[in-house]
């Protein structure tokens, strides 16, 4: 209705003469330019936001893939640990049980520069059985894969949390992503205001040209603000993407630690298995075979030590933000 009236009013304004038309014409040109620029800024802003959301999604997906890889590596290492425990420590416990009375004779005997301390055999066997039973019990509750992983890592997700302040596991899934985007200030653009009291002035003047001017300026102002908000959003997302990248690097470091321990355990197990095979092949005589027993005991004990070494020592608080924040403090 008002648009129609405004259009009808144009000829009347025209009759007002050049004094009215010249400034309004110039103003209309400026308003048109502002409106076009505002519309372009709005479109640009939406594009910036959309692009940022896409990049963030990609970063989350890559981090998730790394997390899955790290968890797989941890699970495989855990499974390897369980096998090693059974094949070396378990086998040695069986051998000790079979030869208990003979082995006891070696206690405190000095062989090749080392005084042998025979472990308490019933306790040794019981502890090996406890480990195996514990694994079975845990596996029945949470599954074998999870048990293996727990044994190796004590939780990759907790590690990721220490590095980013946010658990990586919570960074997966559409819902979590939306929540994060919401936290960044994403979501619908608050088009708000523009600061120009458009409607009242237009109706007051009952003239379409000033209305056009004010409308154009409003679009220009909203466009500029939309673009700024989109830039702010994109900047926050960009920083968060870098943080996610840092979390990925730290997950990679955890994987490297797993490889280190796996390699070490493999080498130690190889030697312990050879020593156990030699010991097992003997008709054991403590007077003659103390060296062979000592060799197996030393290597199996070393295997046990490696088996008990966690991938990450959470008690020490390593790889926390503390080390990273130092940079900021001293920068």
């Amino acid at each position: 209705m008002f648009g129609h009236v405004g259009l009808k009013a144009i000829p009347k304004i025209g009759r007002a003469g050049g004094k009215l038309l010249v400034p309004l014409g110039a103003g209309a040109a400026v308003a048109l330019g502002a409106g076009v620029k505002g519309a372009a800024d709005t479109v640009k802003g939406r594009s910036i936001r959309k692009e940022a959301q896409k990049r963030f999604g990609n970063a989350i997906a890559e981090c998730e893939a790394t997390r899955v890889d790290t968890e797989r590596a941890a699970r495989e290492y855990g499974e390897f640990q369980i096998g090693v425990h059974k094949e070396t420590v378990g086998q040695f416990a069986d051998w000790l049980e079979r030869n208990e009375h003979l082995v006891k004779r070696l206690n405190f005997k000095k062989v090749d520069g080392v005084r042998i301390r025979v472990p308490n055999i019933p306790k040794y066997v019981a502890s090996v059985e406890n480990v195996a039973t514990g694994m079975i019990g845990l596996a029945s509750g949470v599954g074998a894969g999870a048990t293996a992983q727990a044994g190796a890592l004590w939780g990759v997700s907790a590690f990721a949390s220490a590095s980013t302040g946010t658990a990586i596991s919570t960074l997966s899934g559409a819902a979590a992503q939306n929540a994060i985007l919401a936290w960044f200030g994403g979501g619908a653009v608050a088009a708000g205001g523009g600061g120009v009291a458009a409607g009242g002035a237009v109706l007051g003047l009952v003239s379409v040209v000033p209305g056009l001017l004010v409308g154009g300026m409003t679009i220009g102002v909203v466009g500029a603000r939309t673009k700024t908000k989109a830039r702010g959003f994109a900047a926050t997302v960009e920083v968060e993407i870098e943080r996610i990248g840092r979390a990925r690097d730290l997950l990679g470091a955890a994987e490297r630690r797993i490889e280190e321990l796996e390699g070490l355990l493999g080498r130690m197990t190889e030697r312990a298995t050879r020593a156990l095979a030699v010991l097992d092949a003997l008709e054991f005589d403590p007077e003659l075979h103390a060296s062979e027993f000592l060799r197996a005991l030393q290597l199996v004990t070393a295997v046990k030590e490696v088996l008990n070494t966690p991938v990450l020592d959470f008690k020490s608080g390593e790889l926390t933000e503390a080390s990273i924040e130092i940079l900021r403090k001293y920068a």
């Binding site: 009236v5 002035a201 000033p210 220009g220 900047a235 280190e260 070494t309 390593e318 920068a331």
Partner: protein, 140 residues
């Protein structure tokens, strides 16, 4: 008389007052637009500067972490290799103290294994030294 004609009759006739009002609205709108556009440009510049400083900080941290971890793991790998070579030699040795040597070497290997490769990252001195050596400047 049609409805539109009736409304048209109610419209104020262009007058000097309308001219002044129109001009005032136009000038006010243009002023506000120019002001807001300038403010928004300044805010976008601030955002760009903030983004750059944040990214610089994170890049330094990542560079440091990756370099430190690389060096640490390489050094540990070399130490393990050397210790296992010595262990293998001790395992086949005929020396009287061979078992003691094996014991010492196994102790050294397991101690090194238990020492976290990440522990040095907590050392403020090391972190600061690395940062200073990088020669980078962060504007906060």
């Amino acid at each position: 008389m049609s409805a539109s004609n009736a409304v048209e009759e109610l419209l104020p006739k262009p007058s000097p007052a309308i001219l002044v009002d129109s001009f005032r609205i136009v000038v006010t709108s243009i002023n506000e637009w120019v002001t807001v556009v300038a403010q928004e440009q300044a805010r976008r510049q601030e955002i760009r500067a903030w983004e750059k400083s944040q990214l610089d900080i994170i890049h330094v941290q990542r560079d440091f972490l990756l370099t430190a971890l690389d060096k640490t793991f390489d050094e540990r790998s070399e130490n393990f290799r050397r210790l296992f070579d010595q262990l293998d030699a001790a395992l086949v040795s005929d020396r009287d103290d061979a078992a003691a040597q094996v014991s010492d070497l196994l102790g050294a290997i397991t101690d090194l294994a238990k020492t976290s490769p990440f522990k040095d990252l907590k050392s403020p001195a090391l972190v600061v030294q690395e940062f200073l050596q990088s020669g980078r400047v962060i504007e906060l």
